[in-house]
């Protein structure tokens, strides 16, 4: 019978003030062990100040085939970027 330790996704906050970022995954029996293993596997060189672990099966992900419907609508909305607007130099910093 297979009794493999579940898979956890690991997120590390690199420095104070930065978001947690996905760094990889690992196997562990429970969350406590997952954090300890994440410490050993992903922060051997001071890469982190905080660790999140999430059971991999709890991650919901968008599907590659939805790329069009999800992201195309924003492509035509260039006015969302400040550089869209021409402001004369005389106005000063803005």
């Amino acid at each position: 019978m297979r009794n493999e330790w579940p898979l956890w996704e690991v997120f590390i906050r690199g420095q104070h003030g930065m978001s947690h970022r996905h760094v990889g995954s690992l196997h562990a029996a429970d969350e406590e062990m997952a954090i300890k293993n994440a410490r050993d596997v992903y922060t051997r060189r001071n890469e982190g100040v905080s660790i999140w672990v999430v059971p991999a099966h709890h991650i919901a992900a968008s599907s590659p085939s939805d790329t069009g419907p999800l992201y195309e609508p924003s492509e035509s909305k260039v006015y969302r970027h400040p550089t869209f607007f021409d402001i004369p130099d005389d106005v000063g910093a803005m």
């Binding site: 297979r2 009794n3 493999e4 990889g24 690992l26 029996a29 992900a61 590659p64």
Partner: protein, 325 residues
């Protein structure tokens, strides 16, 4: 190179999808686990990343052999950190392989029963402390040669694992060379040990790149899928060109009487390794094949009660927590 002789899998996919896939690869897109990919791409990658991961794990054994006998406390701490890194590298790679739909236990079992291979280099013994120097300098040096271009491989998780590994690997090579410098500038006996280590590790290190491209039937498909970035001979040449001056700096002699600088090609002419020996080692007849696999099997078997026990404990805790809610 930790992945040798990776047999590429034939693929029987819809030609239209295959062509579209190749366009993505050629455009430099990264392929992610949920993207469509040819069956051959998936299977070849499982084999390649798996073999790479197994090499990291089995590669801990020849060096672990010297942890308790390192000459100083500092050397011991450094070697321990290096061996721990190898474990980490194995884990990054297993994770990357798992995104392709194979489980960790399946990968482990395929290593343990011999269905999957690891690099031939780890079937050679580490007889003296100088071997720790030679392994770091030559074996990790050869690995880096292959791993640096693999950072650009087309499969996202593999590429990301390689980026992490490369960041850490240069410490490995430098600590090896540091040991060699110490020995080569030490007593006559130490110098002899350093030369002896180079003599024994040189040709097995050249084997790490795999047989000549002329005989590698599987390279072409892997190259076009960008899961193999360079030819075996090209990397071997690069390794020799980089390593020979480093040996000269140490005052050591590369054990190849025919080694000669070739001005026209801008590289060294050198003797290739004994490929009969290489294939014999792959078949399981190297000096340490049996010992290495026995050690991995023992670790897996001895650890079974721990894996089961911790799982049972986790389930008990979960049940208790649920009951309390």
């Amino acid at each position: 190179m930790y992945a040798q002789m990776i047999k590429s899998e034939a693929t029987q996919d819809d030609p239209e999808k295959l062509a579209a896939f190749q366009v993505r690869i050629d455009a430099g897109d990264k392929i992610e686990p949920k993207d469509w990919m040819p069956e051959g791409y998936r299977k070849t990658l499982i084999r390649q990343i798996g073999q790479h991961a197994h090499s990291e794990i089995v590669g801990q054994l020849p060096e672990g052999n010297w942890i308790t006998r390192a000459p100083t406390l500092e050397r011991k701490a450094i070697l321990l950190a290096k061996v721990q890194d190898e474990a980490g590298h194995g884990l990054y790679l297993y994770c990357a392989a798992e995104t392709l739909g194979v489980t960790r236990d399946e990968l482990t079992e395929m290593l343990l029963d011999g269905r999957m291979k690891y690099s031939s280099i780890f079937n050679y013994p580490t007889l003296t402390w100088a071997d720790m120097g030679a392994v770091g300098w030559l074996v990790d040096g050869a690995a880096i040669m292959n791993q640096v271009p693999l950072q650009r491989t087309s499969f996202g998780p593999y590429s990301r694992a390689m980026i992490r590994i490369c960041k850490e690997e240069s410490f490995h090579q430098r600590q090896g060379y540091d040991i060699m410098m110490k020995m080569a500038n030490g007593t006559e006996a130490q110098k002899r040990m350093a030369q002896d280590a180079l003599n024994r590790m040189w040709f097995p290190s050249l084997m790490m790149f795999g047989p000549s491209d002329a005989e590698s039937v599987h390279s072409e498909q892997s190259m076009s899928w960008k899961i193999k970035m360079n030819g075996n001979d090209e990397l071997r040449q690069k390794f020799v060109d980089q390593t020979v001056p480093q040996a000269e700096f140490l005052g050591l002699t590369v054990p190849d009487p025919d080694l000669k600088w070739n001005e026209t090609k801008g590289g060294y002419d050198f003797t290739g390794p004994d490929w009969d020996e290489f294939f014999d080692v792959l078949r399981g007849n190297g000096p340490c094949n049996k010992e290495r696999l026995a050690a991995r099997n023992k670790a897996w078997d001895d650890g079974a009660w721990v894996r089961d026990g911790l799982m049972a404990h986790a389930e008990k805790k979960r049940a208790a927590k649920l009951a309390a809610e």
